[in-house]
Symmetry: C2
Amino acid sequence: MTITQLQYVLAVAEHKNFTLAAQKSFVTQPTLSMQVQKLEDELDILIFDRSKKPITITEVGKKIVNQAKNIVNEANRIQDIVDQEKGFIGGDYTLGIIPTVMPTLLPMFLKTFIKRYPKVNLIIKEQSTENLIKNLQDGHLDAGIAATPLEIEYLKERPLYYEPFVGYVPPGHRLYQQPKLKPEDLDIQDVLLLQDGHCFRDGVINLCKAPRNFQEEHFRLQSGSFETLVNLADEDLGMTLLPYLNTLELDEQKKEKLKYFEAPSPAREVSLIYHKSELKIQITEALRDVILGIVRGAIAFQDVKIVSPLNK
Amino acid sequence: MTITQLQYVLAVAEHKNFTLAAQKSFVTQPTLSMQVQKLEDELDILIFDRSKKPITITEVGKKIVNQAKNIVNEANRIQDIVDQEKGFIGGDYTLGIIPTVMPTLLPMFLKTFIKRYPKVNLIIKEQSTENLIKNLQDGHLDAGIAATPLEIEYLKERPLYYEPFVGYVPPGHRLYQQPKLKPEDLDIQDVLLLQDGHCFRDGVINLCKAPRNFQEEHFRLQSGSFETLVNLADEDLGMTLLPYLNTLELDEQKKEKLKYFEAPSPAREVSLIYHKSELKIQITEALRDVILGIVRGAIAFQDVKIVSPLNK
DNA sequence: CTTAAATAATAAGTTTTATTGATAGTTTTT
DNA sequence: AAAAACTATCAATAAAACTTATTATTTAAG
């Protein structure tokens, strides 16, 4: 049994296809096939059921694949130990960021980070919390930035900042006269929402504590961008809620329609999340340092109340 | 990096000697030297400091060795998974037993075990609790039988039986007239003890709750066997305490000098202990089943009070 | 039902790697 | 100072991993 063989097994388990797995492993298909077979021979057990298309993993195979993940992870850790010893911060580092955080946060820290750690090849991917979690487990991401708490067994969460929710209320709206918003004022029926899959949407829904199964019949216009929501609100189609950082880039005219919540303001907790195995932890720590340093100035709110980002 | 290389590193770390490590790994010394070098080259860091004799492990080396242990252990687990799947119970299994348990317990279960699991090659080693713990961590033992609780972080303890302490009191002794013993009657100064290193000794000392630093000036005759202690007691040099199972093999004349404790009798907890990683867990479970089945008949005491085996 | 496409297994040959025996270079012990 | 113990290096060999080419098998398409 070799580590390489285990990596091949993992590739096949992931892609359910020897040819593709071989490509991803940068070897030819026979090489991969033979090595997987060799391992199966050595263990005298089948890991994959090749009779079905696409290939399936046998019951024992699943256990072996899990264990193989462990081993390969732990093996990668050795390079990690050496890097840490040398104070080396470099290599590929893949970071996932949720869409509602991406456009505001990324520009704030990216330049500083790549300047301070020029040897790190940062690969940034925008994806939903759901995919983020999956990819962190699979090892396709080294870390993610998402709204928390998620309370996933195998993930660590390190809060970066607390971002208050800010109301965007058009003049015609019933709440326009109020100086401050209160969560209980909100009616889910007239709050414009991001489309399904965005955790900010779920956060807002949780905040509104509306009936779980509210009807959306008369309102199908959901958007993926806050800009759209703001524009819809301006058309008197309802109010909406924005994360604080998104309010900074509004023009003066629109800023007048912002309404803050009474303290403690509802807020989302935005955290750096990564696998408990702490692979590439030095880079993760470096990233955290950079973001914390920059965010400290931008967000000064203290008295907030965290809203869960989960669709419970 | 290969698993083999990591195993070589572990062998060198253990024996502090490339030549010996090579022998233990069943390869020649150049093979092992070259592979270790190759790994060091790949990581671009020195694991061993060869300038000192005997060889020492560098600071990073220590971390790498630890991680290597993990990896090798986790890798062995894969065969384990397969064995479990197949219901296969076999292969080498090394069991350590403390000296005070060995002569009474081993004959009780050995025959049954090798008959029921003929494919297991049982290797039994008598050793002190201290060595048992060390060897379980190093992976030199698959399991051990010792007095518990030990509360070692990386070990699991599964109690096998509770063995009461029984007094052996010669007719001339001040306690001979009493029908039952009480712990508070005991005076550490006239209780004959096993020599240092036996945990039963520590158990008895704990029971006597004598001053921790009692003097042994006038009594240096410590022995490694209960037989000696009994004979010394017969010479009126004091009383002694025996584990219950040891009392079964005394002759009739000696049995008359046995004095049991009042309930709850002090007792030692004898457990099967093994590494938390649960390597070869099927064999361990099989062993436990056999011993439990046999011991159930032999030891029927219920109301006991466990004495710590540790030299606190 | 036949054919084409996709995919895995097999075969033969090549490259790479692991291992060995012999030996040279150290350090430690006597 | 010599012997012993130990590690590194070298050249040769055995083993393995990998490649290209090909075959076999399954799935999808016509």
